[in-house]
């Protein structure tokens, strides 16, 4: 099973997930991973990610298929939290296992750029004065546009 894509409503534990992923792909020479966490700086007390059942996980599956189609990988892991998280909690984990290092780096980088700008998540932060919806970041769109444009999974 080359693709392992999940939406998690409870804690994402990157080290445990990576250990299981590595064990599932003993033939891979290299594994690149990215873990994204809620930053503990600033005055953010909590972060909530909402999703839409009919689009979010299917869109992540399509992104995984697209990534697997672009680089020769032994395996690809995408885990994404939804719900309420606290500073320090992991939000997202992407891992790519490949025979060749460069393929694993590029695949993980590509998947992250698209998850950040292209996946069906809506984010709000709780600060001292209440909840605030987060708008898309221009940098995330710029990151995605480094890749060519036949892979828009969401507007």
């Amino acid at each position: 099973m080359a693709k392992d894509v999940r939406l998690l409503e409870t804690a994402l534990v990157p080290e445990a997930a990576l250990a299981a992923f590595a064990a599932a792909h003993p033939q891979a020479g290299g594994i690149v991973s990215f873990t994204g966490k809620v930053r503990p700086d600033g005055d953010v007390e909590a972060l909530e990610l909402s999703h839409y059942e009919r689009l979010t996980l299917p869109g992540m599956e399509t992104l995984a298929d697209d990534t697997l189609g672009r680089w020769p990988l032994d395996g690809l892991l995408i885990q994404h939290r939804i719900g309420v998280m606290r500073p320090g909690d992991a939000i997202v984990l992407v891992a790519a296992a490949a025979r060749h290092r460069r393929d694993a780096f590029q695949a993980a980088d590509f998947a992250m750029d698209h998850l950040k700008s292209d996946a069906w998540f809506w984010k709000r932060e709780k600060r001292a004065d209440g909840w605030h919806w987060i708008e898309p970041r221009a940098q995330d769109h710029a990151d995605r546009h480094r890749w060519n444009q036949d892979t828009d999974l969401a507007p």
């Binding site: 839409y52 700008s117 998540f121 809506w122 919806w133 507007p155």
Partner: protein, 80 residues
């Protein structure tokens, strides 16, 4: 005989609830009519997209939904 509207992101705040039932059939003009005030303005805004039963419409003004359909109103995504 109803269509379920699903409000995502900040549209759920504006709507006061994550879902709302409206009368079927539903097209773009009857949707805009059903959603007044800031919610209607937001949905009509160019950045909000519309999906019917999990398929995003290339052009939301082409909306047509019947009894039992689910219409999702999707503001811009804010990333993971």
């Amino acid at each position: 005989m109803s269509v379920t509207l699903v409000f995502l992101g900040k549209l759920a705040d504006l709507a006061g609830a994550p879902e709302r039932a409206v009368e079927a059939p539903l097209d773009w003009s009857s949707l805009v009519e059903a959603l007044d005030g800031p919610l209607g303005d937001a949905v009509a805004g160019e950045k909000v997209r519309v999906a019917v039963n999990g398929t995003v419409l290339p052009e939301k003004t082409a909306l047509f939904a019947e009894d039992g359909d689910e219409v999702a109103l999707l503001p811009p995504v804010s990333g993971g």
